[in-house]
């Protein structure tokens, strides 16, 4: 599985599944160790995604026949141009 391509939602879902399986304790020990390793990696990835997140806001405008997105800052917000 290409772990780096996972969305946050997929990563969380996989992490939850891993925890469930580890808690059930039914897989062989070496598989459990591998699951743990994968889970730790996913948790770190999710945290990193949260840390890096920065809200991007765009506004849809019409340019000719095409709809294009331009950056948007609402009026009355600091840093308004």
């Amino acid at each position: 599985m290409a772990e780096k391509k996972l969305t946050f939602e997929q990563a969380m879902a996989r992490l939850e599944e891993i925890v469930r399986r580890l808690e059930a304790g039914e897989s062989p020990l070496d598989e459990s160790m591998a699951l743990f390793e994968e889970g730790a990696k996913l948790a770190a990835q999710c945290s990193a995604m949260l840390d890096k997140a920065e809200q991007k806001v765009t506004k849809l405008t019409r340019q000719g026949d095409a709809a294009v997105e331009v950056p948007f800052v609402p009026e009355g917000t600091e840093g308004t141009t």
Partner: protein
């Protein structure tokens, strides 16, 4: 009276004259009249006929079918409305009438009536069925806002979205949220977002206001756009007590725009806590798993087979001894039984033994170790052995004499 000196008109001319005056009047050509509907009648032709009245008077009104089809409510007697249209004369009756192009419910009561009518109709159609509601994505990556680019609503939405879940990008589709054409813009924006899959979630709404201000969100077109949108829609209109048709059609209703943003995305603080919790559980699960394995190893190590590997062999040896003893006893028992049986048989045999008979004076004749029971078996000159009780005689047959009626004697 001499009529020759005065101009006499016919009725049609007069009506036509009045009509001409009225039709040239700018005010009468387009005006709005407030009043209460009475004598309402819907003709089979589809035209609506009624009067608008207030405390001091009444005016006859007509609304043609083509205009009436656009009404978003059913006119009823007693309903307060503002009628938009022109006043002119219907020459046949000589009556002036208000030709209505549009009727707008006037005042909160009438708006409520219109609201309830639409809500009930769309409800009966199944547009608000709980089965139609789609689940919201747990972690949206892109949120589409259909609202005004100005005003507090969009600021509140962006502020809460950014604080809770900055991971989601936001696309604003600017629309007017009140006044002429607003509902068409809102419906079009929602349809576009759905068609182009512009995000995984739509929030549409505006800040609070009067029922008239919020009316765009009570329009059937907006409700249908929301209900048929392939992307989940949150309606976030006004303040807590305001409920709109859009709220019924939406997958989730928020009390305010801020609340809409809260419902739309998870809170990163909570998600971080959940992540920490999952990590902790994972560590705990693995730790208890290792502990269990360790105990298992310990238990195995302390088991008898490892502590005393000869034990099972000794156990089996003991078992073998036991069976052996049993077997010997059984075998011995069987032997005695057989011996006794044999003795009994030997006694019976003894009683029948020819030796006993020989002892009583009978002899047994053998030839070539075969018992001779008939004179036909031997010829003169043959050697025979005669056995008696105490020995044997070797003899030679001298003569043979056959008895007649042998068969009888044989008995």
């Amino acid at each position: 009276m001499n009529l020759n000196n005065i101009q006499v008109y016919n009725v049609a001319d007069v009506n036509q004259y009045i009509k001409g005056l009225m039709d040239h009047d700018a005010l009468l050509a387009a005006l709005a009249v407030r009043g209460e509907i009475s004598n309402y009648k819907l003709y089979p032709s589809g035209h609506h006929y009624f009067s608008l009245k207030d405390e001091s008077g009444a005016i006859r009104c007509v609304m043609f079918r083509s205009d009436g089809a656009r009404l978003r409510f059913r006119p009823q007697n007693g309903m307060k409305v503002v009628a938009l249209g022109r006043v002119t004369v219907f020459p046949r009756d000589g009556q002036y009438q208000l030709y209505c192009r549009d009727l707008v419910p006037d005042g909160v009561g009438a708006l409520h009536q219109a609201f309830e009518q639409l809500r009930d109709r769309l409800g009966r159609e199944g547009l608000f069925d709980p089965g139609r509601k789609r689940p919201l994505p747990p972690y949206p990556t892109r949120v589409v806002l259909v609202t005004s680019p100005a005003g507090a609503a969009v600021r509140d939405l962006l502020r809460v979205l950014g604080a809770r879940w900055p991971m989601a990008s936001v696309l604003l589709i600017p629309v007017r949220v009140q006044g002429e054409g607003a509902w068409e813009e809102i419906a079009r924006a929602i349809r576009w977002a759905g068609r182009t899959r512009a995000g995984d979630l739509i929030i549409t709404g505006r800040g609070g206001g009067s029922m008239e201000d919020l009316w765009a969100f009570n329009e059937e077109g907006v409700a249908r756009a929301i209900a048929h949108c392939p992307i989940p829609v949150i309606s976030a209109v006004g303040h807590e007590p305001d409920v709109t048709i859009a709220d019924y059609a939406a997958d989730l209703r928020a009390a305010t725009p801020s609340n809409g943003a809260e419902l739309a995305v998870p809170d990163q603080v909570e998600v971080r806590a959940a992540l920490a919790n999952l990590s902790g559980r994972m560590v705990q699960a693995l730790r208890s798993r290792l502990e269990r394995e360790r105990r298992q190893v310990k238990r195995l190590r302390e088991s008898r087979v490892l502590v005393d590997p000869m034990a099972p062999i000794q156990d089996r040896r003991m078992l073998l001894d036991y069976h052996q003893r049993g077997l010997t006893a059984a075998a011995r028992g069987g032997l005695w039984e057989r011996k006794e049986k044999m003795a009994a048989l030997a006694a019976a045999l003894d009683a029948l033994s020819p030796l006993k008979v020989l002892g009583r004076g009978y002899s047994m004749v053998l030839r070539d170790k075969q018992a001779v029971v008939s004179v036909d078996q031997v010829s003169p000159g043959d050697p025979i052995t005669v056995t008696m009780g105490d020995g044997t005689l070797a003899c030679v047959v001298e003569k043979r004499r056959k008895k007649h009626g042998r068969k009888k004697a044989d008995l």
